[in-house]
Symmetry: none
Subunit: 178 residues, 2 copies
DNA sequence: TGCTTATGAATGAATG
DNA sequence: CATTCATTCATAAGCA
């Protein structure tokens, strides 16, 4: 769990030297290469951010929903996080020149940031997957009436498939509802 | 089931928006989150591909075997050689009415050879670092005796580790299982 | 009841 | 850094 320790300490994208050291340490427990460490940090950071993002988006969604739910309905006090900071706020040090052992603009608990490692991750990027988001689409809707308007979920097959079916994927025209 | 319908319709990797809608619809039948839908598609696609791949490999193996039966020494290995083919083998599977570009049956590695294809960059490490290379720091000393002087770089604790650095289960030393 | 299968979840390894 | 794929884990379901 060394890696997580380091991660919690603020290490996000270790540079070559750091990776070397980490790898050296970890090699005690078994065969390990630098790329393993590298990948670990990559994945961990990405997934951490993902989770965070989903929290944010969920909250935002809730807020949005509540805002649009009723004009007069007072928001149940959820003013937490409205992080819409400038798009140029995250910028890690592209693993080249920056040492993030001490972190920087993040709440890097240099000592011991147990919970709440709020990272001002990106927010202006295109659309990634907010799926992992626990967008409880089920909760906002009262069980007595479902706002589902029978979306045409079947014929949707638009730009989701761009890599694998790149050859000549199914035509997304009028999918004739299979 | 709805998801299978969609899958058959050609949906493979729905994007965020699609997942949202699907989740919304499915939420009518019970509690469901976006990640569930995401995982479903991931798994379904993967296993579909897996089945396909297995079938193909089996067939090709049979053919290969039969062809080389009289020519070369018949491989006494069990016919359940299974997968271990080039990572990029087949890409799509047949959808009912979608496109089934099963093509790409490239040089079906008749003899998959173990090659150390590594380190594709080594150029300006502006993007991918060069540790993807097999820089093995664990080499200087046998992994069974700790040569590392326990660098005080960070608080390393040898608690249970079974996934992070054990991508290779070949932990020669006592893998300090917890 | 013990085993095999099916499946959701998670993670390592890439690739773009 | 985002996205995808392959593998693996854990567990529930099905069956002999």
């Amino acid at each position: 769990m060394i890696l997580e320790e380091m991660y919690r300490s603020g290490v996000r994208t270790p540079n070559a030297a750091q990776i070397q050291q980490i790898t050296a340490h970890l090699s005690y427990y078994g065969k390990i290469e630098g790329k393993n460490v590298f990948y670990w940090f990559q994945n961990h950071k990405a997934r951490e951010r993902q989770k965070l993002r989903r929290r944010l988006s969920r909250h935002q969604q809730l807020l949005h929903y509540q805002l649009h739910q009723s004009e007069d309905a007072p928001p149940p006090s959820s003013p937490i996080l409205q992080n819409r900071m400038p798009p140029h706020f995250l910028h890690q040090e592209a693993t080249s020149q920056g040492m993030d052992l001490v972190g920087k603009l993040e709440t890097v608990g240099t000592e011991e940031e147990e919970e709440e490692e709020e990272e001002p991750m990106t927010s202006a990027m295109g659309f990634e997957q907010e799926w992992l988001a626990t967008m409880d689409v089920s909760s906002p809707v009262p069980p007595c009436c479902r706002p589902l308007k029978t979306l045409d979920l079947f014929p949707i097959k638009s730009t989701g498939l761009k890599d694998e079916c790149s050859s000549s994927k199914s035509s997304s025209c009028s999918t004739s509802t299979n």
